[in-house]
Subunit: 197 residues, 2 copies
């Protein structure tokens, strides 16, 4: 295979990443070739390592190395709180906030009749298992505020009703948010949940 063909193949693969199209993939590949020692070689090596080691945690669905992820194997985090999220990106976002010290459960999506995704396609049976086996006292439903997310939250709440305390994230004005730019639903939710000073 000629060199240009390898470069073309690399561009095609890069263009399949979310957020990159053909044009930005070309720019990225040229940048990689220019920064071969600083970027291309380390990136290729790290990808190989991650491809060999990264796997889904059998317990919560997080991405890590080994069968059980760092959070699930950290006893300090067994505080009885379990935060249910849609996918690993949401778990990472929660972790960046640094506020939550409990464990997670990654559903791997939302219920969707259209795409025929039922409870068994998600990690919902496993969630119900964990609530009893891990002595969970409160399940925090941190699903996205979309129709599918809220449908899924309702379904899970129905399943766990009476077995464990349930909560969901507060809805309201984001920090730094300007009223003029918020949608009506958010303003109305923030108004309903207003706090007395």
């Amino acid at each position: 295979m000629s060199g240009r063909n390898d470069i073309d193949a690399l561009i095609d693969l890069m263009a399949r990443l979310p957020g990159l199209g053909p044009r930005s993939a070309r720019r990225a590949v040229l940048h990689l070739i220019r920064k071969r020692a600083l970027l291309l070689t380390p990136l290729s090596d790290l990808m190989q390592t991650v491809a060999a080691t990264a796997r889904e945690c059998l317990n919560c669905g997080n991405v890590g190395t080994g069968d059980i992820c760092e959070i699930c194997s950290n006893d300090a985090r067994a505080n009885g709180l379990l935060c249910v999220v849609e996918d690993v990106a949401d778990l990472w976002a929660m972790e960046r906030s640094g506020t939550f010290k409990g464990r997670y459960h990654v559903l791997g999506g939302t219920l969707s009749a259209l795409d025929s995704i039922g409870p068994d396609e998600l990690r919902i049976p496993k969630l119900i298992d964990r609530v009893t086996s891990e002595e969970i006292t409160e399940v925090i439903l941190a699903l996205n505020a979309t129709v599918d997310g809220q449908t899924t939250a309702h379904y899970i709440a129905d399943q766990l009703e009476g077995r464990v305390a349930l909560s969901s994230l507060a809805q309201g004005v984001p920090i730094g948010g300007e009223l003029d730019y918020l949608d009506d639903g958010t303003i109305s939710a923030a108004l309903t949940a207003r706090k007395r000073l």
Copy 2:
């Protein structure tokens, strides 16, 4: 090193690609981990191949394998036309148009007094060499229509004046362009260079 740290390191490296920020790098890495066999492993392998084989053509500055690129070693393209471009991305763009059948010369940037980039930092001496050694009949200055691009084009034109025919890309309305969305400079250039039907 723990698995999560490798993943974090991969996200950091990916975020240094042009067009990707921290958020899109996270999305891309999660996507890569999910599509390990289809995307992550082939991407890592191809990057390794490209890191090992890609290099700058000693003649024109294009990226390829070997010391001389495919275009420079293709005798069918020695038709006396030499197209001068700023960088490899521009060469690729010219090649995609499929119209130009000659050879290229990649400057590697533009003259810039502010960044102290003079003719010797670019591939301008080599360009002047090639004009005589490769029996070039016409040099097409396909530099970007920016101030720096046009300054560089004028400098090169001065250097080559009287030694070879010089031309530049036509300026005018882009195909599919709507007058209402074009800047005044483009409309004025298109009007000045109007063609009789």
